[in-house]
Symmetry: C2
Subunit: 278 residues, 2 copies
């Protein structure tokens, strides 16, 4: 028996809307996964879904019932929404009639240690040495999502999100990551313990800064490596800059802000991939 | 004497709203430039502005009057809008009280020929050989704008937009390009004459396709070069694929669509920059 929600005053509906904000999200320990593609990817990666809200009035294709059945089989409770209640629940401009609630998870640095247990990912191509991305205080969810996609495409072993302004479970991070959030191991941690952990493991730190003399293509990006990127507005903090083993810069021909942090991250990651002989 | 627009029925206001759509935009031969940063960049690049609409109720800073004076001195007619009429005119979610109308321009392939006249750009770093980007049938304005930013940062001599689905003067291209549209020479042309022009000038064609054997980092991207990228949904057409002198692929570790066309373009452009010794 599937509960049907038709009232805009329904408390479950109101809670869905509240979950767009960080505090209620963190208090409830859950987050929103909206859209067919993202929900499918969550299920593929065995991410547990607590609830799945659906509204056939908004469906775009014919595969939705199959996905719903799969979610239900994996333990999700299903709720049917009327067209207008789903419109209220959806945060996307163009909803596709599927919205899930999943429990947040927490990974620690130990989870991305190579050789310290079962590999979180089977499709990494970074070789025997750790290949990590560290991002500091990223503000825009779209940038964080894009950065996760780059790390996925580059085969990073993990992404460490230091001192986040935007939390990983922001609905726009989930969306911009196109579900990569479910596959790339992401750890949220403060900068100081991350630095200590990198030092302890002999992982070199490459940091891009316009002040560096060396081009990123002239630095040796092989071996155990963490690429550290700063925030949109302020760049890397002094904390990381003074610790960088490899301060590097990306050559820029055009206007000062042609490359944003997500673009600079991507370029640096793929230069590392080139050197590492992926 | 500055005309003040306070009625939502004002015909100028209605025309501003219409200019969001391509047909009225092309019929009028103009386009919208919204926002302080974009308008400033247009003025810096001597782009003519026909009209400048402003609404002090929406201003975010204190430099707006200076920019308005500069636009007026350069020939723009000024119009003041009330808060609610500007809200209607603006296409951005967070308007900043400035919206200009500028005449569209048309550049031809001759405009990006090196040595064929005054250089359009003084900040190109691509050396003596042509370094061009060709994009085919890009659909999303955000992608086209991001691609223009990459071409700017990489120091391309020009971007050739073939068979565009999204036109260059779409407001979201202007926005996503952060004004780079005003500085990177962009030519809109059909694929056949572009190919003939490239062949005539001995410019080699590099095309990324997942089917290529060679990695993009193993191809020689020096010398006269055009990097050709296909559309989001279909990739490159057969027309370009069969003409590619250098079919190359980008290695991908993660899920199939981790890299979108804008990201793949950026990575390829910056590998070319590396090889060309920028």
């Amino acid at each position: 028996m599937i509960e049907k929600i038709t009232s805009l005053q329904n408390p479950r509906l109101k809670q869905l809307v509240r979950l767009r904000d960080r505090r209620p999200r963190d208090e409830a320990g859950v987050f929103l996964v909206e859209g067919y593609r993202e929900i499918r990817r969550a299920l593929e990666k065995d991410v547990r879904l607590d609830e799945l809200y659906f509204s056939p009035d908004w469906f775009l294709g014919e595969n939705e019932p199959e996905l719903m059945a799969r979610a239900q089989a994996a333990g999700a409770q299903l709720f049917e929404l009327s067209k207008d209640t789903f419109a209220k629940a959806a945060y996307r401009e163009r909803p596709d009639g599927l919205l899930a609630v999943a429990p947040q998870w927490k990974r620690t640095l130990a989870d991305i240690e190579k050789g310290s247990g079962p590999e979180l990912r089977s499709d990494r191509n970074s070789g025997p040495d750790p290949f990590l991305l560290v991002v500091e205080a990223i503000e825009k969810p779209g940038n964080l999502g894009t950065i996760l996609r780059s790390a996925d495409a580059a085969g990073c072993d993990g992404v460490i999100v230091c001192d986040p302004v935007t939390d990983l479970f922001n609905p726009n991070v989930v969306r911009a990551s196109t579900g990569v959030l479910f596959s790339v191991p992401c750890v949220v941690e403060e900068s100081a313990p991350v630095l200590a952990w990198l030092r302890r493991r002999g992982i070199r730190i490459a940091a891009t800064t316009p002040a560096a003399e060396k081009l990123y293509t002239d630095a040796d990006l092989r071996g155990p490596l963490a690429i550290v990127m700063g925030s949109e507005q302020y760049g890397l903090s002094e904390f990381w800059l003074k610790e960088a083993d490899l301060p590097v810069r990306i050559p820029m021909a055009g206007q000062a802000d042609s490359l944003n942090v997500a673009m600079a991250t991507m370029i640096t990651l793929f230069e590392a991939v080139r050197q590492r002989g992926a």
